[in-house]
């Protein structure tokens, strides 16, 4: 694995900024006031967000080895505690803090 140079880091951040700006400005450029939005775009607007969040959850767990080492037990316990806390109290901050603390305790003290 190679480490990025500062220039490469700046370019990577610039690309992320540009990509983010494209997603924010594009609709205003493509659909000036009074123009009808294509149905396919509206459809993607409905179905893409949940799928992308699903991808992100998997992305976060991509480096976990389920078949060796600690078998991903800290990660599974962390995710489970986030989910249970959230279904119980529905408080975003509590769920994130609780799950993260649970995970940190497991990787620091148990595994």
């Amino acid at each position: 694995m190679t480490t990025l140079t500062v220039t490469q880091q700046i370019l990577t951040i610039a690309v992320v900024v540009a990509g983010t700006m494209v997603t924010r400005f594009l609709p205003f450029l493509v659909f000036p006031p009074g123009k009808e939005t294509p149905k396919y775009i509206k459809y993607l607007g409905d179905v893409l967000p949940p799928a992308v969040i699903g991808l992100l959850v998997v992305y976060c767990l991509k480096d976990v080895h389920f078949l060796s080492g600690n078998h991903g037990i800290p990660e599974l316990a962390g995710v489970l505690s986030v989910a249970l806390l959230h279904l119980w109290k529905r408080n975003m901050l509590l769920s994130i803090a609780g799950g993260t603390i649970c995970y940190m305790l497991l990787v620091q003290l148990v595994f």
Binding site: V16, G19, V22, P33
Partner: protein
């Protein structure tokens, strides 16, 4: 009303709406700053990234892009487009609401994060308050909370005495919470299944380093191909 009064009135009207976000953003911002610090980045990284990217989940992922997988701008760009694709649909919803806001429109669009969007598209602005300035204040206040949080975390993260091993899990926790929230709000879960399913298949096939691009294309493909089925289901349920 003078211009100064107009801004002051809008600020006073906007602030109460942003208080929950003040708490959330400062907390998450600090976590982001500490996270960056724990990866070995100086405070200037979280400060500039929170200021210019200003899309929470993408900032965590950008940190990942900086430390793993090598230099791959195209992959970074496509990942950003996919992760932030929801902004496209915020934009579509705000086309009318941002109309007539003049020069403020540029910043309103630049700072359109999930939270600012949800306030600006739902709040009824009082009649004596200028709508453009109100939305600008909401956007700017939220942006400020986030940058301040990231700056605190980035600057003072190194002073933290406790062991921060495992803190990176805050990103996973954030996405799990968003995933559950979306699940609870949605009537149908087909696209959430497609997202997780295609991603897991691609992870097994391509490995952790390179699965995201095929996964993104796969999700777009499957959702496009199943459009008729999914739309028909939606119509049946709506009827």
């Amino acid at each position: 009303m003078t211009a100064k009064n107009q801004v002051g009135t809008a600020l006073r009207a906007a602030f109460p709406h942003t208080i929950p976000i003040l708490a959330g953003f400062v907390f998450l911002g600090i976590a982001y700053g500490i996270f960056m610090n724990s990866l070995g980045f100086s405070a200037i990284y979280p400060i500039l990234m929170s200021l210019f990217i200003y899309a929470g989940s993408m900032e965590f992922l950008a940190a990942n892009l900086l430390i793993s997988g090598g230099f791959n701008p195209l992959n970074a760009f496509l990942l950003t487009l996919m992760v932030n694709a929801r902004h496209l649909f915020y934009g579509l919803s705000m086309l009318d609401r941002y109309k007539g806001t003049g020069k403020k429109k540029f910043y309103l669009i630049f700072g359109m994060c999930d939270e600012s969007f949800s306030i600006n598209c739902t709040v009824n602005v009082p009649k004596d308050v200028d709508k453009g300035w109100f939305m600008l204040c909401v956007t700017a206040l939220n942006h400020t909370y986030w940058v301040i949080g990231a700056a605190i975390g980035g600057l003072f993260g190194s002073l933290i005495r406790f062991n921060t091993e495992g803190l990176e899990f805050v990103m996973t926790a954030l996405f799990v919470v968003i995933f559950i929230e979306q699940w609870l709000h949605a009537k149908r879960h087909a696209s959430a299944f497609v997202g997780v399913g295609v991603s897991v298949i691609c992870l097994v096939l391509f490995g952790g380093g390179q699965f995201s691009l095929p996964a993104m294309l796969g999700i777009l493909g499957v959702l496009s191909l199943s459009r008729k089925t999914l739309e028909k289901k939606a119509e049946v349920e709506a009827a």
